[in-house]
């Protein structure tokens, strides 16, 4: 059980039988009165945000979420298949459940999958992934002005802006948190 004084950013807790994460938090205490904890919370199932103020008598259950390390196997139709590295059990997630992570999922990649009561609700990828550029407009020699970017498509189908010297077939590193190109990867 958590008490209100445990509230802080990124704490995960149950409210109205759904898991929430604290995204913003402020301590308020009017003179000699009881403490108030103003929170902005995100519903981990729906993504919707709400404001709620708690008092020091309030208590909460920790969110019934569990994170597992899983290996991404393959995509079939709309289903993304993953395997639990601990017991080799497989699960499938829909495109909606996978969310933006679909842009960077490469076969055999390890990632962290968050479950709520055996239902996968979120994926955390490694911060950086290396992907092959599958489509790129040709490099016009001499075009080296920095800030002059061109769009390319990588093996996952994700479109990203890269410097003009990046060519088809090359490997690039992408920050999965921002979706931005970082560097060329030489092997």
């Amino acid at each position: 059980m958590y008490s209100a004084s445990d509230l802080r950013k990124n704490l995960r807790l149950m409210l109205d039988d759904e898991p929430y994460i604290v995204v913003d938090f402020q301590f308020v205490k009017p003179g000699k009165g009881q403490s108030l904890y103003r929170c902005k919370l995100r519903n981990m199932l729906t993504g919707s945000q709400m404001d709620r103020t708690f008092r020091e008598v309030d208590t909460f259950k920790p969110a019934e979420t569990e994170e597992k390390t899983m290996q991404y196997l393959y995509k079939e139709g709309d289903a993304y298949h993953f395997m639990d590295n601990a017991n080799y059990e497989q699960i499938a997630m829909t495109e909606e459940q996978v969310g933006d992570a679909k842009n960077f999922l490469i076969e055999n990649m390890e990632c962290k999958v968050m479950f709520f009561r055996d239902r996968p609700i979120d994926i955390t990828l490694p911060n950086f992934v290396d992907v092959v550029v599958t489509e790129a407009p040709p490099w016009i020699k001499g075009d080296t002005v920095s800030g002059n970017y061109k769009p390319v498509i990588v093996e996952t189908g994700y479109k990203v802006s890269v410097p003009p010297f990046v060519e088809q077939g090359e490997k690039i590193r992408i920050d999965t948190r921002t979706g931005d190109y970082l560097t060329r990867v030489k092997e």
């Binding site: 301590f27 205490k29 009017p30 003179g31 000699k32 009165g33 009881q34 008092r55 008598v57």
Partner: protein, 307 residues
């Protein structure tokens, strides 16, 4: 000195802080107050329902110097002030530090309304000493510090700014919530405000009004939405005080806090305490006001996180 501590960001606020401290002292000395220092480490804190004293060995760090200062008042020190560090656990936010600076003063013969006038004088004096003049600019608000500040009863403030009445808020245990979130932002501009006449349960060391025993003769100062000080006419009826402490301890037990031992020497002394009024003012917040700071972090040399 570690590289993450940046003096440049604080320099000006710390200068303002030094000037405010100096001005506070000269104001009270010019009015014939005695500056006192009472021990910061005490055997037991006052039984108050919502304050967590921090332990220091077998004893406690004082959450305020109230207990010792009132014993001095009872012993014949009629006008005393103290600027001291005070400590309260589980309090940290843009307006709270677990270690903070409190100015506390007592004046025998005063009641809470007479004390309000002295507060007006004090702020004007500090403004003069800092050379900032009036109006004061705080967080994009213009504040006129000249005398005759607004006086507003708590009950009326609920009627005016709250979504529910004070009685309803008390019944639903939402008094603090409505006060802090709905009412406070309106208080203290263009003139500072005295919010006064609290429900008795919110003034455990204050005298009840003779014409309305459900109301404590207590007030809070608000300037530009910022709560700065808590003052009241002092309760000097030992029997009544003991009963109120017992009630506070009951609330503490219900909330999972350990009850505080009865401060017997204090209770024995207060029946000799003259009619008087006293007040505690948050010095850090006063500096925030004059330094136009949004957070208490900006006006102290170090926050606990920076140590």
């Amino acid at each position: 000195m570690s590289a993450d501590w940046k003096l440049e960001a604080r320099h000006q606020a710390l200068e303002t802080r030094a000037c405010v401290l100096h001005a506070l002292r000269s104001f009270f000395l010019s009015r014939d107050y005695l500056e006192v220092e009472t021990p910061n480490r005490i055997p037991a804190p006052l039984p108050e329902s919502h304050i967590d004293a921090l332990p220091a060995g077998e004893w406690w760090l004082h959450p305020s110097p109230e207990l010792c200062m009132k014993r001095m008042l009872a012993a014949g020190c009629e006008r005393i002030f103290q600027i001291s560090k005070c400590y309260r656990g589980r309090e940290r936010g843009p307006l709270h530090l677990p270690e903070f600076t409190l100015l506390e003063w007592y004046h025998a013969g005063y009641d809470y309304f007479r004390l309000m006038e002295e507060c007006e004088d004090l702020f004007l004096y500090v403004t003069g000493a800092l050379g900032t003049g009036s109006p004061l600019h705080y967080r994009n608000r213009e504040i006129d510090l000249s005398k005759s500040w607004k006086r507003l009863a708590v009950k009326d403030a609920f009627e005016r700014y709250g979504s529910i009445s004070m009685e309803k808020a008390l019944a639903e245990n939402r008094f603090e919530e409505i006060l802090a979130l709905e009412i406070e932002p309106h208080l203290g501009s263009p003139k500072p405000a005295f919010l006064h006449d609290y429900p008795l349960a919110f003034g455990s060391l204050a005298r009840a009004r003779k014409d309305n025993p459900a109301v404590a003769e207590r007030f809070e100062i608000y300037v530009g939405g910022l709560e700065l000080a808590n003052g009241f006419s002092e309760l000097n009826d030992a029997g009544e005080q003991r009963a109120r402490f017992e009630k506070e301890n009951e609330i503490r037990s219900k909330r999972g806090r350990a009850p505080c031992p009865m401060p017997e020497k204090f209770l024995e002394a207060i029946s000799r305490m003259p009619e008087s009024a006293g007040i505690a003012l948050g010095v850090d917040r006063m500096v925030m006001l004059f330094a136009d700071a949004a957070s208490i972090d900006e006006v102290v040399s170090f926050t606990p996180e920076e140590l």
